[in-house]
């Protein structure tokens, strides 16, 4: 399973029969879904539906009970040496709701550290790349600022640059704008839009329905641990098929 060569047609992420429980509480009740290469999938659903848990299983921040998840041809949840899991994780970008920047490092150090320590990149190469990434997220002038000196939106953009520095073929976003003041949501979403336009494969848990409408290729609506609907955004928002999705969307509009 681990050695299947990724071809252009194989999905980037494939979830097969994914179950997960916390004790007696079943969070994920059999998820079967695929994300194609270059596809942008937005995951939405009511709180407690299992969206965050689902996205965290893809880079194995959460273990699963049964089923399998493959990413870029690698079976993520099979038993493997810790080194191999670290290597796989370094190929899956992850952006947290709470940014989780390293507060003891400046913005550019945050970005350059992991390519140097994990991939063994030369210092000057890593910093040249980090500078480019800071430009890409519009923060070239904040290279030496520390996280505490940056606004929430700026911190999240640095966090995105930090994830990109590992050059992952896929990016996961776990409610990237939920901890932000409203006026900062736009700057983060526009960075994400730019990524999508560049052809990045993305999975994104978000409540930003405008982003889903504009950028997503597909919307997964999750409720009670199951993907209830998987549809193109224009179909999902104008003609939700299930009552649960209809109720969710009408509650969002209020």
């Amino acid at each position: 399973m681990n050695t299947i060569a990724p071809s252009k047609n194989s999905p980037m992420i494939a979830l097969t029969g994914v179950h997960k429980s916390y004790g007696n509480y079943e969070v994920l009740k059999g998820i079967d879904a695929e994300v194609a290469r270059g596809e942008v999938v937005v995951i939405c659903g009511p709180s407690g539906s299992g969206k965050s848990t689902l996205i965290r299983t893809v880079n194995r921040l959460e273990e699963i009970g049964s089923g399998s998840i493959s990413c870029d041809g690698n079976n993520i949840h099979q038993p493997m040496p810790a080194k191999e899991l670290n290597r796989l994780r370094s190929r899956i970008g992850f952006v947290f709701q709470s940014f989780n920047l390293f507060p003891h490092l400046s913005a550019i150090d945050n970005i350059a550290m992991s390519p140097m320590r994990v991939k063994g990149l030369q210092r000057d190469v890593a910093y040249a790349k980090a500078t480019k990434l800071l430009e890409r997220v519009g923060l070239a002038d904040k290279a030496n600022a520390f996280p505490a000196q940056l606004s929430g939106g700026q911190q999240q953009r640095v966090a995105i640059a930090r994830a990109l520095a590992m050059e992952p073929p896929v990016m996961l976003f776990d409610e990237p704008t939920s901890a932000l003041d409203p006026e900062m949501v736009g700057e983060v979403l526009s960075v994400m839009k730019g990524l999508a336009a560049d052809g990045m494969t993305m999975m994104c848990v978000t409540h930003e329905m405008g982003f889903a409408r504009d950028v997503a290729d597909r919307v997964w609506f999750i409720d009670q641990g199951q993907i209830v609907e998987s549809a193109r955004p224009e179909d999902f928002f104008s003609r939700p098929q299930t009552q649960r999705a209809q109720r969710f969307l009408s509650e969002l509009r209020h």
């Binding site: 670290n86 989780n100 390293f102 520390f146 994830a163």
Partner: protein
């Protein structure tokens, strides 16, 4: 009174400084400083290893270290020193110098105490930092080294210094197993003079105070330097380090 103290220092300064050396083992202030520095230098890395072992999921690492921490916390240091002094030669048959017995006992005892300080600092950081590091592909130990410990250790500097200062003070207990340190020298002087215990031990107290106070000063300066380095621009640094200094300045 003051003239007595000056006279004692004038007559016995060499004994207070280096003990009987070179006619006997190195003693006095030199031995106290050497013992303190070595104890701290070994106890610090030991404490990090113990803290990581206690945080480990492996029962082979976790249980023995937890037992050690509970044991050392529950038993007076003096007991450990006496056991080490009397038991180790009995069990091993080796003639262990009292200086070495004292050093090892201090490293184990203060290492165990310090490990709880370090563990507290690590746990207080929360999961986010470790998760972010792992998501980037860092190994557990790599994340500890580059992300978790630099923050955790910095945050617990005040507690670390308290343990360091306690270590220096605890070297005085070496007196009971004849470690020829400063306390030992002072009591030798007291035994010779017989009539001036207050003056002799006042000198002793003053010297320990200066050592411990100096260590606190070094800690504060180090902490400010790290704060400045981490705060980036100068103006912000001043504001932040002032605030932190106010929070962490300790009466030494």
């Amino acid at each position: 009174m003051i003239s007595d103290i000056i006279a004692i220092i004038r007559d016995y300064w060499l004994l207070l400084l280096i003990g009987q050396y070179p006619n006997g083992p190195l003693g006095g202030l030199a031995a106290t400083l050497l013992l303190s520095i070595l104890a701290i230098a070994f106890a610090f890395p030991v404490s990090i290893a113990l803290a990581l072992a206690r945080l480990s999921n492996s029962p082979f690492l976790n249980w023995p270290v937890t037992a050690l921490v509970y044991f050392t916390r529950g038993v007076p240091l003096l007991m450990l020193i006496l056991w080490g002094y009397f038991l180790v030669p009995l069990v091993t048959g080796a003639n262990v110098p009292s200086f070495l017995t004292m050093l090892v006992t201090l490293v184990v005892y203060q290492g165990a105490f310090l490990s709880e300080v370090v563990r507290g600092g690590i746990v207080a950081l929360g999961h986010g930092q470790m998760e972010a590091s792992r998501a980037l592909g860092h190994s557990y130990l790599g994340a500890m080294r580059y992300v978790i410990l630099p923050q955790a250790l910095y945050n617990v500097i005040p507690s670390i210094i308290s343990v360091f200062v306690a270590t220096i003070k605890d070297t005085t207990l070496g007196y009971v197993i004849n470690v020829p340190d400063l306390t030992f020298a002072a009591s030798q002087i007291n035994n010779q003079l017989l009539t001036q215990p207050f003056q002799v031990f006042f000198i002793l107290a003053a010297v320990y105070y200066v050592i411990c106070w100096s260590l606190s000063r070094v800690a504060i300066v180090t902490e400010r330097r790290i704060t400045r380095k981490r705060a980036g621009t100068a103006s912000q640094a001043t504001a932040k380090s002032l605030k932190l200094a106010a929070l962490t300045d300790q009466p030494s």
